[in-house]
Structure formats: C-alpha cells, structure tokens
C-alpha cells in the first residue's frame, strides 16, 4: 500500500503573497522551469530527467524538469563544488562519464538505452551502481561508480526538496518573512500552515 500526503489540501504557494519579493522570485521560478540546457546534450538531459524520476519516485513533469535544469545550471557553473574527494573527477567529468556509464550498463544488460528500459530494471541497474558493482565498461574506468551515484542522488534530492509542490506534499510551512512564525510550541500551528488531512 502506497503512503500518500498527510496534507492533500495544502498548497504552500498560495501563501506567496506573504513572502518577501526576493524569496517569491526565487521559488516562483522553480514552478515554471523551462527545458533549456547549456551543459548537457539533449540525450543526456533526457537521461538525467529519467534518473530524477527514479531517484525521487516522482512523475510530475514540472518538478522533474526543474531538477534537470537545476543540475544543468550547477554543473555548468564556474562556482566550485565546496569539496571534492581526492581521486574523484571534477563535476563536469563525473556527470558526463557517469551518465555514459549508465547507458553502457543498460546496453550491456538489456541492449537498450537506459531511458528505454522499464522502471524496475532501471532501479536494479541503479542499485548496481550504488554498490559499485556494475561491470567495468569504458566510462567506469574514468569515474568511480559509488561517487557518481552519491553526487547524482545528492543533487537530485536537494533540488527535489526545494520545489514548492514537494513542500506542499510534506506539509512544510516554508518561507515566513516578514510575518515569521507566531505559534511555535507543541501542538500549535499558525492559521495558514498545513493541517493534517485538511482539518483546521
């Protein structure tokens, strides 16, 4: 039995008029992500989009497009990576070769591209890469599987939980400037916050 949101009636974006302008602008852009990539080729972007869906168990096109765009931006950006483990290639190579590695793996196991195989098979292949157990192909000689998987998962999840639709699903009150939170103690909620199962 699949679990579903405790707050099906809640939409955090309905509060956006109460947010400061800068926050409104930043968050609002995520709701209208466009397909335009600078770093990834079209096929790579399609693969990334598919991976984002598998890793977050999400099918919503807007959210997956946003994740893809976000990772394209951050991979293209000259801003650093904060940290990189010794022996792991820099982010551009890690992504490019890692995506290639997934396609090589899908070809080897299923004679198809990764995006063409069925979801359970995609999950199985990702589990191999997560464990570092995919058969050695040219791409994996350049990038360590586990490090690629971890970076991909981190970036996908970070973007996913930055989308207001996902904030709504989990009942996150989100931005609260200038009004702040007044009722912060146990059992209390401000009138505009998410209420369990739509009750107030």
């Amino acid at each position: 039995m699949y679990k579903s949101s405790h707050y099906p009636a809640y939409d955090v974006w309905e509060q956006h008029q109460e947010w400061d302008e800068h926050t409104r602008k930043i968050v609002g852009k995520r709701r209208m992500a466009q397909v335009e990539h600078r770093f990834f080729q079209q096929e790579e972007a399609r693969l990334l989009y598919t991976l984002a869906g598998v890793l977050t168990n999400e099918i919503g096109d807007h959210v997956l497009t946003y994740i893809t765009q976000h990772i394209d931006n951050s991979t293209d950006s000259p801003i650093g990576e904060s940290q990189r483990k010794v022996g792991v290639p820099e982010k551009k190579t890690l992504y490019r070769m890692g995506l290639q590695g997934l396609d090589e793996l899908a070809q080897q196991k299923h004679q198809q591209r990764f995006v063409e195989i069925k979801r359970p098979q995609q999950e199985d292949l990702l589990r191999l890469v997560e464990q570092g157990q995919a058969p050695m192909t040219p791409a994996w000689q350049q990038v360590p599987q586990k490090d690629f998987f971890k970076k991909l998962l981190h970036d996908v999840v970070a973007a996913y939980y930055s989308h207001p639709a996902v904030w709504s699903e989990i009942g996150y009150g989100g931005p609260a400037y200038p009004r702040g939170y007044v009722r912060v103690e146990k059992g209390l909620v401000d009138p505009w916050e998410a209420k369990r199962d739509g009750t107030s």
């Binding site: 699949y2 679990k3 579903s4 949101s5 405790h6 947010w19 400061d20 800068h22 926050t23 930043i26 598998v54 890793l55 977050t56 168990n57 999400e58 976000h70 000259p78 801003i79 650093g80 904060s82 940290q83 990189r84 483990k85 010794v86 820099e90 999950e123 990702l126 997560e130 971890k150 998962l153 981190h154 999840v157 970070a158 973007a159 996913y160 939980y161 930055s162 996902v166 904030w167 989990i170 009942g171 996150y172 009150g173 989100g174 931005p175 609260a176 400037y177 200038p178 009004r179 702040g180 939170y181 007044v182 912060v184 103690e185 146990k186 059992g187 209390l188 909620v189 916050e193 369990r196």
Partner: protein, 545 residues
C-alpha cells in the same frame, strides 16, 4: 547616536567612505592594520582597532551582502553564503565543506551560523593536564573570561538567568528566549524524565530590541541568513560600526599572497576583478578560515621562508579539528514541525565533562536542532551512519512524515592529531593558486565519543515517545591548523595570536585553537579576537610593533 538604518545601509559603505575605484581607496598608501577576512574574528578586530583610532583596512574575498535583497527564505539558493570554491578532501572521513562550515562575504560564517553562543569550560584549556590527551593552551579560561563578558554584552546575548555548566553561570545580558520550539520542548521534557539537565540555549539572537534591531520572529532560517537582522552577524554589527569608526572594507577582493621584507610583512597582494593590487600596513592580521589561512601562508613561501610564512615549526596547517556532529532523527506520533523557530533553542552539557567510566576522554554538548526539507532529505539520502542510502519510494515515503520528526544534534570534542591537516594540492584555482587539500580521519577516542553520544540521543528520542529512525554522520565547524603555544617549535602563534616567526603578523579565529572543546566555537573566536585587539592597541602604544 547617529541613526543606523541597518536594512539599507549595511549593503555598501557609508557615503564618502569608499571610492568604487580601488586605486583611490582610503588607505592606499598604507594602513596601521590590515585584516584579511571579514568574518566573526575580523569584524571584532576591525571595530575595536578602528575605535582605538587606528587606520584599519579589511580585505574580504566575498561580497558585501545586503540582507534585504541578497538573502531569501530558501535553503538551496542560500548556499551562496558559503565558501563554495573547491577544496580537495581526503582521509578516512573526508569533510563536508562549503555551507557546512565556511562562509564567504562580509560577515563570513557569522552570516549563516545558528547563533549558539557558548563559552568553553575551564578544563577545555588544559586537557593534557586534566585528561592526559591532546595539548594544553598557553592561556587559561581566566584570560578569556573578561572578553567573553565583553562580547556577550556587546552583542546582547539572550540566555538563561542561571546556566548550570562551566565557569560562567549567568545571568546573560538579555532575557532568555521565549517561547521555545516544539522540538526543544520535547527535548527538555524527555531529558527531564531521564534525569538529564537542560537549558534554553544562550543565543546571539535577540529576545528583545537592541541597537536598532528587532527581536527574533522565529522564521527559522538562521542558516540561510537572517532577514530581520535579529541574529548577530559581523555584517550587521561590527562591520558597520567599524566603518563608522573609520575602517575601510574592501569586499570582493581575494588576498592571494603575503609579501615580506626580511623578517617583516610589508604588504598583501589582492585580486579584484582580475586585477592585482597591493595593500601596505604596519601590522597584518589573518582572520580567514582554518583552510584559507594555511593555504595563504604556504603559498607565500620565499627563499627566507621556504616552508611557507610563519612555519619554522612545520605546524602550519596541522591538527585541524571539526566537531563530530552526528544527528538522530526520531519519528513521533505527534507533529513536531522542525522548520519552526530558531533552530537551536535547548541544549544539555550534562555529558561535557570527562568521565573515565565511559571509556573515552572529553565530552560533548547535545542540541535540540531544527531541520528543513532539503537538509533532512539529502542527509537521509547520502549521510546515514550505517552507509545505506535512501532513494526512490523509500525516501519519498519517509519524507511524507517530515512534520513528525524530532532531531537532536551532537557537538562532540575531536582530539587534535597532526596528521589531520591542510596542505597544497597540484591542481590550481582561477588565481593560479594551488587548491587546499583537507585531510581528516577520526581517532579512536573520537569514535568512542560518537558512539556514546548517539546512544544518548537515541535514549532521549525514545523518552520523547519516539523511535530513533535515522542516525546521520556529520561534522560541524573547523578549528586548529595554526595553533597557539608557548613553544615556537610546536606551535605557530603565541597566546595573543602573534606568529612566533614574524613580529608584525598575527593570526586569529578558530585557526589558533589548540583543542576543539565540545562547545560551538564562535563565542571563543570573538573573545580571542577582542583579546588580540587589546594586545595590539597596547603594543602599538608602546611601539612594540
């Protein structure tokens, strides 16, 4: 007192205080004091030294933020407040850098800290004497006590009337924060059941108006930069005051080299928009991060100082220490809503003192600690202590219960080990400088301490009526790398932060810590900076510099 509009006026220099053209800067021909880095330490020094009548210039690599237009109530975009330039990490426990521990821009890490304002305890300065581990500091708690008093007063720390641990038992200058968040209430109630003392955290986040700034509105985004200016940062407190006292802040200026003549520093080279400039001064203070200071000193090697400046001991870059900072997330029947309120509103230091029966030396602080969706979900996905990763349906369904999670966080002492260090890598950055390589591995004592703390956190979650679901491995803060000491062969600076090798070169900030303690470091960073400021003013008066 002149009116301060902190909302609009801290975004740039006051009118007439700085020309936009860097060759027309205020102290182009030389300052009394040049401070590298405008973080928690640099801000205090800039203000104290400018107030004493000295010509002060502060050089900061990052931007001069305006909270109103640069900050947002958003996790991912506010990583811009961090030092994101790549550091190579190595060792058995490679550190998470960036937003986890380092800031960039005026205010430095004080722009995105949680505001927890603790003092070190007396034992923290003498762990070798007390426990036979690590090293003693060349100073004692009593040396720093008046400066803790001063800093806490100057920035109006809001805390309890009585604080039950350590040498300072309150009262704090400003009233204790009230109300506290559900997570902190649950933490306090559970600890009481277990016989563990707790208190509301002493915070550099206002409980009442102070100096033109309003009290906290429990927005909860301390780590993303405070929009109402209720939380202390150098950006909105010390730096504007320093500018008013005559200091000049050169933001977006990256110091790339220190130049020497004989045994003295003559100037630093900094890069702004691709162009190099020089800044001369009588005294130089390195107030940057634990990684960047050794990197700068090592990169400034000369034939006279072949191993890097101030490094005759070989200790530059050595014995860096994070805090161990594991989290336990516990699932409760009731809603907790970790996003609401100041993140840390309650803590315990009942586990702080060494206790031989535990089988390890030193101790730790536990904080009730808020969390936001991105931070929590990425931790569940990639930082679980058992090495498993949550993704797909498992992660999505776990996060559906986000509002029912409580969280406790460790600040655990990590013992100094010279093998944990900052060195130079082969790879170069955009300035042509070698990247820093940061190596870290926990020692046996550190791991035993973590195990004990994780069990304590699980017990508290269970006493809440919850289930400890996720143990996250993490670190916080970074200290050491240019440690102080009285022996010039085993330390970089003396008890005032003056380098043993170069009389007009000082280092301040967390770099000069000898040990890490089990307390959040910022209050100690600021107190040490205030003490160094007094020392420099006195020395300049006596013409000793």
């Amino acid at each position: 007192m002149e009116h301060h509009d902190f909302v609009t006026h801290n975004s740039d220099h006051y009118e007439g205080y700085r020309s936009r053209a860097l060759d027309q800067r205020k102290y182009k021909d030389g300052a009394d004091v040049c401070i590298v880095g405008a973080g928690a330490a640099g801000g205090v020094l800039a203000y104290e030294l400018a107030k004493a009548g000295l010509d002060v210039v502060v050089i900061e690599a990052g931007p001069f933020w305006n909270p109103q237009t640069d900050f947002a109530s958003d996790e991912i975009s506010m990583h811009s407040l961090a030092w994101q330039a790549t550091r190579l990490v190595d060792g058995k426990n490679p550190l998470k850098m960036g937003h986890n521990n380092s800031g960039r821009g005026v205010g430095g890490g004080s722009v995105h800290w949680t505001g927890v304002c603790l003092r070190f305890h007396e034992d923290d300065f003498m762990i070798k004497t007390v426990d036979g581990v690590g090293e003693d500091w060349p100073i004692r708690y009593e040396d720093l006590a008046p400066y803790y008093d001063k800093i806490e007063r100057d920035i109006a720390v809001s805390g309890p009337k009585h604080y039950p641990w350590g040498a300072f038992n309150g009262p704090y200058p400003y009233p204790v924060r009230e109300p506290i968040s559900a997570n902190s209430q649950l933490f306090r109630e559970a600890c009481e059941k277990l016989g563990i003392k707790t208190e509301v955290a002493p915070l550099a986040i206002l409980s009442a108006p102070f100096d033109g700034r309003p009290p906290c509105i429990n927005r909860g985004f301390c780590n993303e930069g405070c929009l109402p200016n209720a939380k202390y940062s150098g950006l909105i407190h010390h730096i504007p005051k320093a500018i008013q006292a005559g200091a000049e802040i050169l933001s977006d200026c990256m110091v790339t080299q220190i130049l020497t003549d004989g045994n003295k520093v003559t100037s630093v080279v900094f890069n702004h928009d691709g162009q190099n400039y020089e800044q001369k001064a009588r005294v130089f203070i390195l107030a940057g991060f634990v990684v960047e200071i050794p990197r700068l000193l090592l990169n400034s090697a000369t034939p006279q100082f072949p191993n890097g400046l101030a490094n005759s001991s070989g200790w530059v870059g050595k014995a860096i220490m994070p805090h161990s900072s594991h989290d336990v997330y516990g699932l409760l029947q009731e809603e907790v809503r970790l996003y609401k309120g100041t993140p840390v509103l309650a803590l315990t230091q009942d586990f702080y003192q060494s206790d031989q029966s535990r089988g390890f030396a030193r101790g730790y602080t536990l904080h009730a600690h808020g969390s936001r969706p991105m931070h929590m979900a990425t931790a569940l996905a990639t930082q679980r202590a058992d090495g498993t990763m949550l993704w797909g349906r498992q992660l999505r369904e776990t996060m559906l219960d986000y509002n029912n999670y409580a969280r406790i966080t460790l600040v655990g002492e990590v013992l100094p080990n010279p093998d944990n260090d900052v060195t130079l890598a082969q790879e170069k950055d955009e300035y042509g400088l070698p990247l820093a390589k940061v190596s870290f591995s926990y020692g046996e004592n550190d791991l035993k301490l973590i195990d004990h703390a994780v069990q304590s956190m699980k017990d508290i979650i269970t006493a809440m009526g919850g289930t400890p679901e996720h143990v996250i491995q993490d670190t916080a803060h970074l200290m050491g790398g240019c440690r102080m000491g009285s022996d010039p062969t085993t330390s970089v600076v003396d008890g005032y932060g003056r380098t043993h090798d170069i009389p007009n070169l000082y280092i301040t900030g967390a770099s000069i810590f000898v040990t890490s303690s089990g307390s959040n470091p910022t209050n100690t960073v600021m107190a040490l900076a205030a003490r160094t400021a007094d020392h420099i003013v006195d020395s300049l008066k006596q013409n000793n510099l």
